[in-house]
Every structure is written in structure tokens, then in C-alpha cells.
Symmetry: D2
Subunit: 341 residues, 4 copies
């Protein structure tokens, strides 16, 4: 099977390697010559341009886009007139599913099929395989089955669930047809929303452990500082790296994220190389907004999201308002330096 592949960044290149290894012939393009050369070194056919890429594919074609969200529409505009009835375009990036609805409609006017795929796996995907959440016309999904199967981890990546037997389903292999267009990115969006929540749960818990020695520190005894009533209860210096490692076996909270955390904390439990400025890249926001549209409460997911906004400094004015109020009603002056010195 043949596949066009545009976008050879961190993710894209690894995916092409996995596809080639599984016998899918990739015709690839990227604006960076270097990236094309590396793909070629792994057996892919490097095209010189989008036109060239389309020309090198036999019909009916399928072209997978693995691009920054902002660039997808630009490439689609170039690609669309070059394709023919029955061809498929796949967006495997992190698009908002609302964009999928619009794009699918636009492409259907040219009798092209559009498939949206949410891909999870990060930098580990080449080795572990990619979990794929797929939306679009079902015939397109079926035609692309070998591609999805090649990228997916396969059933062996986890023990089968109780009650599952016989020929493994696609879901059990790590890819799933989730519904009409947008369904793939919708499920991926929620996946990332959950990811934010899981990450924050570990981070908050570890922070409670980190500060379990609060009773050892001297506190100022003024009206501006809340007293610690029982300092004798907060005298622990916990070995955080070992604790994360410990929880990996036999506990209820074992997970892949914990595996990674244990490795990081094993190297340096103080995490001194990090400043704590946490980016967010869209999906967490979209999940919250979808939940609000639906009227579904997501207090944990938004708390995780807002923690990131705050790490970016965006709570600043709100805090100034609080300080101004406190000054105004109580004559409270801000303490200029805090515990963290």
C-alpha cells in the first residue's frame, strides 16, 4: 500500500519510519530538505513539492498531513486542486474538531474524502506505536485500515481485558473508528483533557508530599501569616523519587505517566532544571469549552487547565485586585517576599 505523507517534524518522521517498516510505501514531502533526506534514508520516496508528491501516487490516493494546526489550511488549499474524485486527505495533527467539520464539507464539494485522526504517543510512538482515534466517512476508514494497523501498537501492547476474546477488534489493536468527521479529533481532544487532569493529580499530590516538612520551617507570627497549628504533624522529608517508583507496582495509581514521572524524579527529585512554566496547546481549552457547551461539569479538568494558565502568569491582575481590596478594607500591606524566597 502507498501513502502520501506531508510534514516530517518530530512526530511525522517517526510515523513514516514505522510505516515503512510495516511495508507501507510512503511518498513524503516537507519544506525542509533535511527532513526529506532523513525520510528517504529510511526507505521513503522524497517528493520535491506537493505537486510532485501527488504525481507520484497512484489513484485512488491517500495523503496524510502531519502539520502544525496553523498550516493545515494552507497546505489543503494547495493540495485540493491536485487531487481527484475518491482521493482521501487525512489530518493527523492536533486540529480542533470544529475545523474538521468545515474542511470535510469543503473537500466533499470536490468529491474528496476527509479523515481526521487524533494521534497519541508522543516521542515514544515509534517504539510503542500510536493510539489513533479516527473520524470521517467509513469507506475511507476501511480503505486506510492497513495504514492505521501499521501505526498502532497492536493487541500485544497490553493484556486483553476480561471479557474480550477471539479476533481482537481494532480498538484492541490501538485504533478505532469513532464516528463521522470530527469524531477522531473530538475523542483526542477529550483524551488530552483527561491527560491534563491526570498530570495535575500526580503533581498536586507530590507537592503535598514535598511540603510535608512545613512544620520544620520557622513561620512569622503576624496577622498576615496563617499559623500552622500543629507543626509536629509536618516533619517529614519524603524520598519523592522512591515514592514515585514504589507506586508503579501493585498500587491503584500506576500508569504510564507515573512511569515517566518516576524516571524523572529518580534522576533528580528536586527538578531543579525546570522553572515550572507549563504550556498548553489547545486541547485542554477545547475540552473545557465543549463541556460548557454540553452543560457538563468538568471541575477537575478546568482546575488542571487553570493551573497552567496561572503558571504562565495570567492570574496576575486578579491577584493585584485582591491585594488592593485587602489594603482598602483592612489596611493590609502586601508581604513583599514570600516563603519561596
Amino acid at each position: 500500500m502507498q501513502l502520501g505523507f506531508v510534514g516530517l517534524g518530530r512526530m511525522g518522521l517517526n510515523m513514516v519510519r514505522r510505516l515503512q517498516e510495516a511495508g507501507i510505501e510512503c511518498v513524503v514531502f516537507d519544506t525542509h530538505l533535511e527532513a526529506r533526506r532523513e525520510a528517504a534514508s529510511h526507505g521513503a520516496t522524497a517528493a520535491d513539492s506537493i505537486q510532485d508528491l501527488v504525481a507520484r501516487l497512484d489513484g485512488p490516493r491517500a495523503v496524510w498531513l502531519m502539520l502544525p494546526t496553523a498550516v493545515v489550511d494552507v497546505v489543503l488549499d494547495q493540495l485540493t486542486p491536485l487531487l481527484s474524485e475518491g482521493d482521501i486527505v487525512i489530518d493527523g495533527g492536533n486540529s480542533h474538531y470544529v475545523e474538521d467539520l468545515r474542511r470535510a464539507q469543503a473537500l466533499s464539494k470536490h468529491k474528496l474524502m476527509y479523515v481526521d485522526v487524533g494521534v497519541s504517543g508522543g516521542v515514544w510512538g515509534r517504539e510503542r506505536g500510536y493510539c489513533q482515534m479516527i473520524g470521517g466517512p467509513e469507506p475511507a476508514f476501511k480503505r486506510l485500515d492497513p495504514v492505521f494497523a501499521a501505526l498502532a501498537p497492536g493487541v500485544g501492547a497490553a493484556p486483553r481485558s476480561e471479557g474480550r476474546s477471539g479476533e481482537p477488534s481494532a480498538a484492541e489493536k490501538g485504533y478505532l473508528y469513532c464516528g463521522p468527521n470530527g469524531a477522531g479529533h473530538f475523542v483526542k481532544m477529550v483524551h488530552n483533557g483527561i491527560e491534563y487532569g491526570l498530570m495535575a493529580a500526580y503533581a498536586e499530590g507530590l507537592n503535598v508530599l514535598k511540603n510535608a516538612n512545613a512544620g520544620k520551617q520557622q513561620r512569622t507570627a503576624d496577622a498576615e501569616t496563617s499559623p500552622l497549628e500543629h507543626p509536629e504533624r509536618y516533619q517529614y522529608d519524603f524520598p519523592l523519587g522512591d515514592i514515585a517508583e514504589l507506586w508503579r507496582r501493585g498500587s491503584v495509581i500506576g500508569s504510564w505517566l507515573l512511569d515517566l514521572t518516576a524516571a524523572e524524579l529518580g534522576r533528580d527529585p528536586t527538578l531543579k532544571d525546570y522553572t515550572g512554566r507549563v504550556s498548553d496547546s489547545g486541547e485542554g481549552r477545547w475540552t473545557a469549552q465543549a463541556a460548557i457547551d454540553e452543560g457538563v461539569p468538568v471541575p477537575v479538568l478546568t482546575a488542571a487547565l487553570f493551573g497552567r494558565f496561572t503558571s504562565q502568569g495570567n492570574e496576575l491582575y486578579a491577584n493585584k485586585v485582591l491585594s488592593a481590596m485587602r489594603h482598602s478594607f483592612g489596611g493590609h500591606n502586601e508581604i513583599k517576599t514570600d516563603n519561596k524566597g
Copy 2:
């Protein structure tokens, strides 16, 4: 009527002045000579020591403590042996109500009565009067009625509620017997918990208005930065001082806190004199902990509390954990400088 009064800080001195003006004879003490002199200049009798203060009071005595939480027990230890059966000690500071339970029991062994009073009013109290939430033995409350009435704002401070007529109740004058010991500080604790929530609601809303020009700013278009899909919707530069002023009349969200905020923002809507480091002084924490004991959800009150903790820098380690995780699964590097420069 006579009242002993220990503690002439910001609050205490103002309270003594209000009491003296209402004809309550105050015998006062404070370790600072200066404060005693100022109280005396307003007509109070300054004692040289706790012993002297007790000696100058006719029995049955009543001594009001207006002290930092950490000092209350120290003074109580001095005071207790000097008092006689039937005397009353009032704690008007910000004690945790759990301390009241312990103290009341200890004093009752000496046949002394203990009264806990939560006092709200801040630096404005001398002029506006003090709202008083009172717990303890009911006979003590009754004996002290003139004191509470003198400190309270009086019924004229607000229009009477629909359905209230005839002789105004104590609650309508601004003081209330809330129940047995601890009841006064319990109600004050929750009062402050609510205050945190109210303040945060205004602060968050004003922050949304402040950032309504987000669409005017250039955003980096990389995988680490969430795109603003509709910059044209965020092009407003709002006059925050005027908006706070506006809301004071006719709107649903008018309040005394808003009055103060409008004055602050009227002076300087950028609040450049504040850094945004917001202290907390115990009651917000105790409210949250009481709610948790009761099994009562208080998501708004804890969100407000946690905002303060974060302003103090205590979320730092949690954020480093998040950065470490993101680096580990996605190869994401922290953006070292953020929007706030």
C-alpha cells in the same frame, strides 16, 4: 458600664474609642505605652499591667481581649488567676473556634465565663460600627449587651429587610448571639470564607475584562502556544475603574467590597503599586477544613483559598512536575519567558 480591654492595636484602639464615645468606661492595657497613652487621650483609663487592669475593675468583671491569635493563651494564663467567680473573658480576635471550646472548658473550671466574638469591620469599623458574631453562655451575652450594642453599627446602617418590623432585633442592629462557645468564631470563620469567595469572583471577572484585548497581541505560532482562534473577538480596552464604579448602582453585583474596589480602581486601574502576593490569615483555611469535616462541597471557597496559596508561590513544585512530565512524554521544553515578560 465598665469594660477591661487588653490589646490596643489597629482594631483595638478604634473599638475603645467607639466604646468610650458610647459611654462604656474602658480600663485598657497594652504592652506598648504609646497605645495606652492614645487610648487614654480618648478617655479610657490606662492600666500599667494586667494586674492593675483587673484591680481597677469592679466585679463582676468583663475583660475583652483583642490580640493576635498566638498571644491569646499567654494573656489568658496571666489573667485567669486574677479573676473571680462570675467574671467574663471575651476573645474578640480571630481565634479558631476549636480553641474556644478548649478555653471555655478551662475557664469554666475557675467558674469564669468565656465569650467568643467574631468581629468584622476592618479599619472602617470605628466609623461604620462592628458586626459582631457571638458565642458563649447566654447569661454572659445578656450582661454584655450594652457593650455589643455600642460597638454595633445600629439598625440605621441598612434599610430594614422586607418582613422585619417593630423593635429591631439585635441581629438587625449588627450583633447576634449565635449559640454556645465557638459559635461566634465559627460564624466569623465562615463569614471570612465567604469573603474570600466574593473577592475572588470580582478579581477573576476584572481579570477577564483586563485581558479582553488579547486579540491585539501577537502570538507565537508554535506547538507550545495555544492559538487564539478568533482574535477579532478580543479587541477591547476596557475602562476598568469606570466599570467598577458603574456596577455600584442598579446592578445585581453591588456590594461594599465593590465600593472599595471602585475607589481603588478609580485611583489607578493598573494597580501598579501592588505585586499580587495575597496573604491569608487562617479563617479561609478553617472554613475549608470544617466543610470537609462536614462533607459539604465548597469548590468556590477553596478555589479562592488556593488562588492565595498560589500567589504565595506554593504551587511551584507541582508545576515543575508537570514540566518534567511534558518533557518526558513529548520532548516539550519549557518556554522560558512568558507573555507577562
Copy 3:
């Protein structure tokens, strides 16, 4: 001055009365004959149709719409072709400000001006006046000044802020030009977002007080029920109506919402006539979504919003998932009846 006014519901009729009393001649229309008649009984001129209403107004016209959000566009479609260059349409309902941007652009093609006004005041507005947040072309705002001034509470509705003197500004009278189109509804949206937060802060605090007798109740001592470690600390039966009344005078948390709450709790502190199903009507959602777009953390405002979603039953499936998980890892069975039995 003359004003067309379409929509004579609860709000609209009261506004027309206030306008007529201030000498603004209102030409009104509503599909309900009854409502038109009532407006006429207060001096307004009742039109038989939108056409009739437009015909009865001298140019340049101004027509105020006070309609359910879903109907605004329908009426606009009827109204637009009947108007002439320089006429003004005002939307005083609860539209999303994003709709304003679209509508203003559409009307500008017909050389009509569009003004969006967020109106606060509820059923009390006729008596207290209406707080108005205004967006649109500045010349339109200026032309309509007498209308806004007539509806506004006036400077006397609150003491002037410290630092404000001389001729009162519009903001001090209760109306404000907030910026270009959408600005009025944006500020109103955030106003309501804040309102949700304020309401929830009071509600949560009162709930903590309500449950301060938790220690009096018998608890089952099984592994499914969290033990109350100190029942002796939760023995209070608080007089909630009196407490709300108390806080109205001299406390930091006094507000108009508290005034209303005190009246309600004064009538019946158990609130037995309410079931606790709390609607939301859009602005709280939009505020949260705008904050998320801006990257501004609003944990208090969303907690308040999610509380409403939950009161509507929308958390149900999430809770079933939790029960399923607990059953799965711990063999925990759901307790079928809870404390509230």
C-alpha cells in the same frame, strides 16, 4: 425624545414605564396585545406591528429591542428594511457579544447603527433603575444619552466614591460607554459571571453553617463512610436567617445579594419551597469560554457554573463511572440511600 421599543415582557414593560415617567415618548410593540395595552395605560403609544412602529417614529429613529436571545435575529430581519440611514437599533437583551459583532457589521451595510446594551436590575429595576453597559458607535451612544440617563439609577443611588467630585460622570449615574460593538454585552457577560461567583460564595458558606450540627447525627461506622473525627466540634444549630440579617450591617460581606438572601431566609430559613435545581442562562458559560480563550484562570467562576450544571443532573454519568471503578478495584458497592434520604 422619542424611542421605539419592541418586547414588553417582564423587563421591557418596566423599562417603558420608567422611560415614560422620565418624559421619553415610547412607541411600543409586542406580539401580545395584552402587553401593548398595559404599556399604553402607562402613556406609551402602542403600535399594531413593526411596520406601524417604524412609521410612527420621526427620523432619525432609535428602536430598542428587549427580546429573548433566540428572537432577536428574527425581529432584526423584519426591522432592517424598514429603517433609514442613520437610524439606530439597540439590543438590550442578553445576547452573546459575538452576535453583536456579526449584527453590527450586517446593519452597517444598510448605514444603520447598532448599539448593544447589557442591562442589569432584574425585577427591581423599575424602582432602583437599570445599570447599563453600552457598546457601539460613539455618536449613537451620545444621541441616546437621555434614554440611558432616564433608565439609570442616578448618582444618588450610592454614596460617591472617594476621589470622585464635580459633575458626576455617566458611570456614576449608572450607565457607561464601554467601547465598540460587543463591549456592552461583554461587560454584562462578565458581570453575570461575577454574579454566579458571588451567589455561590454565599450559598456555600450558608451550607457550611447549615451542616454545623453534623456531629449530632449518627454515622454508620463502615469502610464506605468517612468518619467524623471530632463530632464535638459540630454541635451548632445556627439561626441562618438572623445570621444573614446580621451580616448586612458593618461586615465586609454586605451586598445587595445578601440583602435579598436575608429577606428570603428571614421568611423561611429552611427554604423548603425550593428544590435546588438552578438554571443558567448563558452568560456564565460565555464568561468561562472567553476566559479560556484569553488564557485567564477563573476557577471560582467555573466552580459556580459547574455547581449549576450539577444541580441540573449533568454529572450523573461521571459519577457512575466512579462507582464502576470503585467496584472494580475495591469491590465497593454503592450505598443506595444517602444521608439526605
Copy 4:
């Protein structure tokens, strides 16, 4: 090695079996004869009473308590006088670590050592092994090493973390000495706090997916119901069981909790056998309270906790207050039936 074991409930019995299989001779007691008989059928020695149990153990003894929190002190009172200097008591239940501090001090007066062990593993522990978080005197920990090792999953239960090599540490086998008394239950407490957060993150995300068909439902168009602006975006009927299964392979959010969830949803994605009443058993509360004492923000963990309180019906009065306010300022009546009707 010999071990006394008191408490043969769900957890206790499984632990005894695992211990016996590993060659630890257990002398067991439980008030239920049945449970003693079952333990005996697996090779344990059943004692007739606490006295008998102590008598059957050679010194220095070690007795493991696996009891409901409320019963621990009762049994300790019986046990303490029967033991001799140097004996060890282990509390493996879910005690609050603050109780450990008190108990350890009390036992040390009798020259007994107290060890607190937080045990995770649930009903799966016999098969998977138990993750153990251990606090107390280090010599006691060392003496009990074979017991902990027998209960632990062993290093093979998970791939070794990058950077770990050589002889596996105890943490890598699934048990860890965390520090002085209380440390074990402190870490277990936080472990469970994290568990609440993780569970809620999955549950909320799945609820967003479940309601992704919101656009298919008819909504009332009244002022009490928030309009869904884009129903076309919420037309998905997602296969929730398959999605949970899908995420188990290759995704970032894989975990043991997800494994269990996938099995549950695989059986019945509607979860119709559950009502959604979610108990909490203490640790989530204690984690939140410890975080508040430390001044550490835990918005995700408390959101998860409050979700449980709400599922138990404890938000009711707060919601009634909201309804009363809305009625009071806006004349809003409650909608008596909601969507979930």
C-alpha cells in the same frame, strides 16, 4: 518467620494467603469464626482470642492489624498489656497518620514499636501483590523486611525505570520505608488523594464524550435555559467501551484504573447498574486538609473530593439558596424537571 495477624476481612484474608504462600507463618485472629476457619484452610494457625494469638507467637513478636479505623484503638488497648518489650505492632489499615503519632508515642511508653503501613492493592492484591508505604522506627522496618517482601508485587511487576540497575531497591519491589511514624499512612493518604483526582479526570472526560450528542436533543427556548449555539457540533454517539479499550494501548493516558474502566465499560457502557452515589472513606479529606495546613494548592484533588460530597447530596442547601436568590432578584422560578428527568 512468624507473624500475628488480626482482622480477616476482604483485605486481611487475602494478605494472609499471600503471606502463607511465601512461607511466613501466620497466627491469625478475627471475631468471625468463619474467617478464622478460612485462614486456617490456607495454612494459617487460627487463635481463639487475642490472648491466645499472643501466646502462640515467639518473641520478639510482630502483630499486624488489618481492621476498620474505628476498631484499631479498641484492639490496641487489649493487645498492649499482653506484649513485651521489643515487640512490634503494625497498623496496615487506613488510619489517619495523625493517629499514628499518638499511638506510637503511647506504645513507646511500653517499649513497644509501632509501624504504620499504607497498603494499596484492593481486591486484586492477592494476585498482583500489595504496594506498601511504611513509617516507624527503622529497626522495626528492617526486622519485618521478609513480611513486606512477601506481600509486595516484586520487581517483575513493571519494567525497571530508565537509570535503575543492579540489585533492585525495596521501592522497586513495591515497598518503601518512608520515614518516622505516620510517614507510611501520610504517603498512603496522598496516594489516595491522587487516586481521587485520577478517577475524576477519567470520569469527567467520559462524561463529555457521553454528552457529545447534546445537539440531537430538543432544547426549550426560554430565558431559563441556556441555548446551545452550535447544535451541529454535538452530534456524536461515541462507543465509550471501545474508546476506553482503545486508550489502553499507545496513548498517554494508559493506567491500571483505565484497564479496569475499559473492562467495566466493555460489559455495559451505559453503567445502568450504578446510581452514581460515590462514597469517600477519609483519605481524600485528610489529603485536602493536610494540603491546606501546608498552604499547598490542590484544586484538582478537592474538586474530585467535592464531586463525591455532591454525589452524596450534600450540596442541597447551597442550591436552594441559589434558587431563592434567583427568585428574589429576577423572579426566576425553578424548572421542576430537568434534562435527566
